[in-house]
């Protein structure tokens, strides 16, 4: 990466920093949802802990909520930053500048990581005094789980931004829908065996399943299964290539159809 690329990437980061600085609701929203989720699931966990202690052992519910949210936050942060360009009709200004597509994607990933950390770290820290659960006790594997889910989020985002380029703001609802489509198959709160056969088959193709299976093994049985994590990284590599391909094809199609100048509904 040369100096010019760094300058262009930092220009976009500066743009998103200015945007967040100018709008306190946007800033508040970043930390608001993860914290609210953590509180709701924290109390749910407290309630279950007396009736069914095995359900909440080791703070599994709160940990699962926080780790799952890193996928959702990374995806939403990435896609919303891109949508900001569409909402403000600024996309053409970017595409006629020397900014390259990969620099745009890298900028979106960087801002997504920053926003995800701003959202997740306070929620994870608050869970310690509120409910006595610290996801940080998972140690280094937590980084592996977190990165895997963030990569899944980015892979989805690459495809979604491509679809937004091609179909305009009419496809905006995909931004919210896609992560929730994965959730039932991802075995966030229950083991893989709970799912019916056909859903288990689908789940085996999801990186998220391996992350949560690995996390459950670590929290409930103290068993560290690195194979599950590597499997998740491998699948994410494939998703990443697919997401990038969708983005590139959609950009090519948008350029062919003249959708970059007037990117709206």
């Amino acid at each position: 990466m040369n100096v010019s690329s760094l300058s262009r990437i930092s220009a976009l980061l500066l743009r998103y920093f200015f945007l967040l600085r100018s709008s306190w609701p946007r800033l508040l929203e970043i930390a608001y949802w993860p914290t609210v989720q953590m509180i709701i699931w924290g109390f749910t966990s407290l309630h279950f802990s007396s009736a069914s202690p095995e359900l909440t052992a080791g703070g599994i519910l709160i940990s699962a909520v926080l780790v799952w949210d890193s996928l959702f936050r990374s995806h939403i942060s990435y896609t919303l930053s891109f949508l900001e360009e569409m909402w403000s009709r600024n996309l053409a200004n970017l595409f006629v500048s020397p900014l390259r597509s990969w620099e745009l994607l890298l900028s979106l990933s960087a801002i997504s990581m920053i926003r995800t950390l701003i959202g997740m770290v306070p929620a994870a820290l608050l869970a310690i005094p509120f409910f006595g659960v610290s996801v940080f006790e998972l140690g280094l594997p937590l980084l592996g789980f977190f990165l895997n889910l963030v990569f899944t989020g980015w892979a989805i985002s690459q495809a979604v931004t491509g679809i937004l380029l091609r179909y305009g703001l009419g496809a905006e609802s995909l931004t919210w829908m896609l992560p929730f489509l994965l959730a039932p198959f991802s075995c966030i709160y229950y083991p893989l065996e709970t799912l019916p056969g056909w859903m288990q088959t689908v789940a085996q193709f999801l990186s998220t399943t391996y992350v949560f299976e690995g996390m459950r093994a670590l929290i409930l049985r103290g068993e560290w299964l690195p194979n599950l994590l590597w499997h998740a990284f491998f699948l994410n590599g494939i998703y990443f290539i697919v997401g990038l391909s969708v983005f590139c094809l959609a950009l090519k199609s948008a350029r062919k159809r003249g959708l970059l100048l007037q990117s709206g509904e």
Binding site: R8, S10, A11, R15, E85, N90, A92, F95, V96, R255
Partner: protein, 247 residues
Amino acid sequence: MTRSDTILQVEGLSKCFKEKWAVEDLTFSLPSGSILGLLGGNGAGKTTTLSMLLGLLEPSSGSIHLFGKNFVKNRHAVLGRMNFCSPYVDLPQRLTVEENLKVFAKLYGVKNAKSRISRLITDFRLHELMKQPIRRLSSGQKTRVSLAKALINKPDFLLLDEPTASLSPDVAKWIREQLLEYREQTGATILFASHDMREVELLCDQVLLMSHGRLIEKGSPLELIKKHEKESLEDVFLSLNENGGGQ
């Protein structure tokens, strides 16, 4: 590069959308330091042509050479020497004028960005607007900021799509003066799409008249007026359109 060098060479440029030709077989060249007016009514193909020259739209056929390079293949190598302003494109609305100029200066890798921004603030009388978010500006003020953004990297080639549309005559006149001054100072080449014939007559050295995606006439405003024995460029345009616009 001398003033007579060709900065832009367009040959057989065409764009077809679902069997409808938006631009058909457009060929022209643009000498460095000139101001070219791309004239035509609604649907003439001006914006489509500009989009292709900006790399926002892929031509169906034909070639574009900018600064001696094949534009389709070397887009990123030349985009840093160009810039544009269009009513179809806004700047980030929540960012202030100052923040926008800072972001675009960084995006274009402008050296001494502070002094460049300061110069543009003076040229476009933006002092009092610097802390204002774009969304709070009037359309005239927005145009001034968009033009400041378009000049942030001191482009050698500036593309303007109806930059004075919806502006009052005094502001439009002032904008034209700024553009002429910029050309005088830098020797930049300007391509100006408009359907304001009077404006084009005042500003442009050369004119391309388009109708239904085709080039129907080209020359200097004076040449065209003389050739068609009319009093103004508008009369030339109307007479050509009445005669079928080259169809």
